[in-house]
Subunit: 426 residues, 2 copies
C-alpha cells in the first residue's frame, strides 16, 4: 500500500527536528489525509515515487511545474548544456534576450519581460509596476484568490501586519456589481485590478471566467487608467500558449508567469505592454539568481515544444477522458462528484461533504491504488500522461468509489478540515 511508509515516517521524524512544523508551505502534508507521503524519491514522465518506493501516477505535477513530463530529456539536456557553459554569472547571457523575444512573440499583450524566480516575485512586481505607472496606491483583487505568499497577498496572515495589506480592496470573482463597487470605492486612486485566469481557489468549485466580467475589468481599467493584471502563474501554458484571457478576447496590461515555464526549472517572469514600460524600468527589482541562464535555456526548449507539438490538444483529450470517465463512474456508484475547472486543471469535490470525509476517503483509496489526487486543491495534467494512464486512474476511481460506498456511512469526521465547516467556507 502506498502512503506514509516506514522511510517516510523516519524522514518526518528527522524533519520535525530541523524544519519548523516538520515542513512548510504548500508542500507540507498536514492538511492531507494521514496516509499521504510527505517525501518523494524520484520521478519520470507522469509518475513519481514516494520515499518508500511506491510508484504514483501524479495528478499534482509538482503543483504545476511539471507540464511536459518529469525528467524531460531535451528540456533537461538544454538545462545541463547551458549550466556547463555558464549559468549564474556576473551578468546575463544572450539567453535572457532570446527568451524575452520568444515570450513577447508568443503572448499577444506582451512587449517586454522581466525575469525572476518565484511566482510571488512576478505578482509583486506587477503590483509595484502598476503603482509606479499610475502613481496611485489602490489595487483590487478577488476575495480568496491566491496571488502568492508575500505579506501583501499571503492567505494566512500570521506575522504580517495590517499595513502590509493597505490600499487593497477585495471583490468577488465573476461578480460585476462587486467589481464596480470596488472601483467606485477606489475613486481616483486605482492602480490595478488583479485577476486569476479562472477561479482556482482551494476548497471550493473552480469557475470559468465570465467573459462579461473579464471585459468589464478591461473597461474599468481603460476608464480609470489603471492596469489590468492577469496572474497566469498557475494556469499559464496549460490552456493556451497566449494569456488565458485571450480565449475570451481580453488582453491584460501585465501578466505574471512561473511554475511550468521551464518545466520545473526555477523561473518566473512578468510580461507587460508598452503602457508601463517606463515604469517597469524605474522600479528596482532583482535577485541573486534572476539572471540564471540554465532555466532560460530550459524555458526556450519548453516553449519550442509548446510551439511545435499539439500538446494542448493532447492535454484537452486526456482531461476530457478523465472528467467524463469520472463523472460516469461516480454517478454509477451513486455519488455526486463535481469536476470543475478546465479539464487540464481539474478539481473534484463530492456533494454533501462539508468536512471532506468522502473526499479524503476516496483520495486515500486512489493513493493506495497508485494514483495521487488532491482532495481540495486543483490538480494538473502533464503531456507525459497517456490514455492508458487515464484509464488506469479510472479503474482505480471505480474501485475507490466502491470502497467509499461501503465505508461511507461509518466514516469518521475529518478533524483537520473542521475549520472549513466552522468558517462557513462550505
Amino acid at each position: 500500500m502506498a502512503g506514509a511508509g516506514q522511510k517516510d515516517r523516519a524522514l518526518r521524524e528527522r524533519a520535525a527536528a530541523v524544519i519548523p512544523g516538520g515542513m512548510f508551505g504548500h508542500q507540507a502534508t498536514g492538511m492531507l489525509p494521514d496516509d499521504y507521503p510527505q517525501f518523494f524519491s524520484r520521478a519520470k514522465g507522469a509518475h513519481l515515487w514516494d520515499a518508500d518506493g511506491n510508484r504514483l501516477l501524479d495528478f499534482m505535477c509538482a503543483y504545476g511545474p511539471n507540464l511536459m513530463g518529469y525528467g524531460h530529456e531535451t528540456i533537461d539536456a538544454a538545462y545541463i548544456a547551458q549550466m556547463q557553459v555558464g549559468d549564474t554569472l556576473t551578468g546575463p547571457t544572450e539567453k535572457i534576450v532570446e527568451l524575452a523575444e520568444a515570450l513577447t512573440a508568443m503572448v499577444t499583450h506582451a512587449d517586454w519581460a522581466i525575469f525572476c524566480k518565484n511566482g510571488t516575485d512576478a505578482t509583486t512586481m506587477a503590483l509595484v509596476t502598476a503603482r509606479a505607472h499610475t502613481r496611485r496606491k489602490t489595487v483590487i483583487r478577488a476575495r480568496g484568490a491566491y496571488h502568492g505568499a508575500a505579506p501583501w497577498c499571503v492567505p494566512r496572515p500570521a506575522g504580517t501586519i495590517d499595513t502590509d495589506r493597505a490600499h487593497q480592496i477585495l471583490c468577488d470573482y465573476n461578480d460585476i456589481a462587486s467589481l464596480e463597487a470596488a472601483v467606485a470605492e477606489a475613486g481616483d486612486d486605482l492602480a490595478a485590478i488583479f485577476a486569476a485566469p479562472f477561479r482556482h481557489d482551494a476548497f471550493i468549485d473552480q469557475a470559468a471566467p465570465d467573459p462579461a466580467y473579464a471585459r468589464r475589468c478591461r473597461e474599468l481599467c481603460d476608464q480609470t487608467g489603471a492596469l489590468l493584471v492577469v496572474d497566469e502563474v498557475r494556469a499559464g501554458l496549460r490552456l493556451t500558449t497566449d494569456c488565458s484571457w485571450s480565449l475570451i478576447g481580453v488582453q491584460p496590461d501585465l501578466s505574471s508567469w512561473g511554475k511550468c515555464l521551464a518545466n520545473g526549472h526555477p523561473l518566473s517572469v512578468l510580461l507587460g505592454n508598452d503602457k508601463s514600460r517606463k515604469a517597469a524600468s524605474a522600479i528596482y527589482v532583482t535577485g541573486s539568481f534572476w539572471y540564471q541562464a540554465a532555466p532560460m535555456a530550459a524555458a526556450l526548449e519548453t516553449l519550442k515544444i509548446a510551439r511545435e507539438t499539439p500538446y494542448l490538444a493532447h492535454l484537452d483529450a486526456l482531461g476530457t477522458r478523465l472528467r467524463e470517465g469520472l463523472e460516469a463512474r461516480a454517478s454509477a456508484a451513486g455519488f455526486g462528484l463535481r469536476c470543475t475547472g478546465p479539464v487540464q486543471m481539474p478539481l473534484f469535490l463530492f456533494d454533501d461533504d462539508p468536512d471532506l470525509r468522502k473526499g479524503f476517503c476516496w483520495s486515500s483509496q486512489m493513493l493506495a491504488r497508485g494514483v495521487y489526487v488532491h482532495p481540495w486543491h486543483n490538480m494538473f495534467l502533464c503531456t507525459a500522461m497517456t490514455e492508458a494512464d487515464i484509464d488506469m486512474a479510472l479503474d482505480a476511481a471505480e474501485q475507490s468509489f466502491a470502497v467509499l460506498k461501503r465505508e461511507g456511512p461509518t466514516l469518521e469526521p475529518v478533524a483537520k478540515m473542521a475549520f472549513l465547516v466552522a468558517s462557513g467556507q462550505r
Copy 2:
C-alpha cells in the same frame, strides 16, 4: 580590448526592445563605465568570458554566488545527478532533511531551517517570523544597509508606498547611541533588529562590525524580547562557515543565507533558533521551486567542500596578497586607494574622487587588461583563484595606475555618478 564589443552592442540593442531599460536590477550595467560588457558567454573557475569572447578574471563572482569556482565539477555533478532522479516534485525529497541537518550542525545559533530561492525571501521571512514571534510590529535596520529588493526594504522606492515601510526605524551601523535611540523609540513594540555582518553598503568604505555594537544589539534584543537577525546573504560562507558574528562572539536568533550556499545554484535559507520555532511554523511561506532537490544536493556538496578543505585560509591568503599588493602599487604611483572590508570581499575607493572618475578610469583600464573589478560595489573572491591570478591582477593594477596618473588631470566628470555628489553621499 575587453568591454562593450560588437556582439555586446548587438545584444543590448535587442534587449532594449524586450526588457525595460535594456536590463533590470543589480546586473544592469547602466551605472558602470560605458565600456563594461552587459552580456557574458561562458565561465569556468575564476574566469568569465564576455559576449565578445574576452576572458576576464572575475572579482565579482556573480555578485557572490561563485565561491568554489564557476562550473565546479563535483558540485555541478551533484546537481545533475539529483536533477536526473527528481528535482521539482509534488513534495520534497530527503535532501531537504539532510541539508537542514547539515546547516543546523554547522551554524551555532541554528536549530531549524526554511529553504527558499531569493535572499529577499529569507530576509522577508525573518521579518515575518520576528513579528509572528513577538506579536509586535517595529523593526530596526541600519540606514543604507541592503536587505533585499522587496517593497519593505528596497533601496529605490519607485512603485512602493509609504505603508510598505511602516513600523521601521533606521539607525546608523556601528553607532550604539543611534541604536539605543531607535530601541527607545520602538518602546514596547520592538520585533527585531536587523544587522549586516559588516557594513557593505555601496559607494562608501566598508566597515567591520564594532564588537561593542554587535553585543549591544544582542543585549537590547534580550532585554526587549525582540529577535536579532543577521543577514548573511552576501557574506555567508566567505568569512567563516558559522554565522559571521560568531567571529566576534555574538549569536543571532535568525540568519538569512543565499548567494553562494549552493555555489550559484538557486537556493537561500532562513536559519533560526528554538525561540521562534513555533512562530516559524505558524507563518505561511512558500514558492513553486522552494523544495527543489537539485540545488539542495549542490549545497550539500558545497558544504562538504567547506568542511573538508582549507578554503577559508586560501581566500584569506589571496585577499591579503591582493590588498597588500594593491596598496603598495597605489602608493608607489602616488594614489590614496582605500581597500576596505574583509580581504575576501574587498571594496576599492580612491581618495578625492567624489564622482568616481578615478575609479571609473582605473576600473576600465583593469577591464582592458582582463580583470573585472567593480568601481563602487564590494567584490568577492573565489577559491578557484590562484596566487598567479592575483599577481596578474596586480600587474594590471600597476599599469592601470600608470594610465590613471597620466590621464588623471584631464579626466571628464562621470555624469552618471553626479547624483553621488549631489546627494552628499561622498
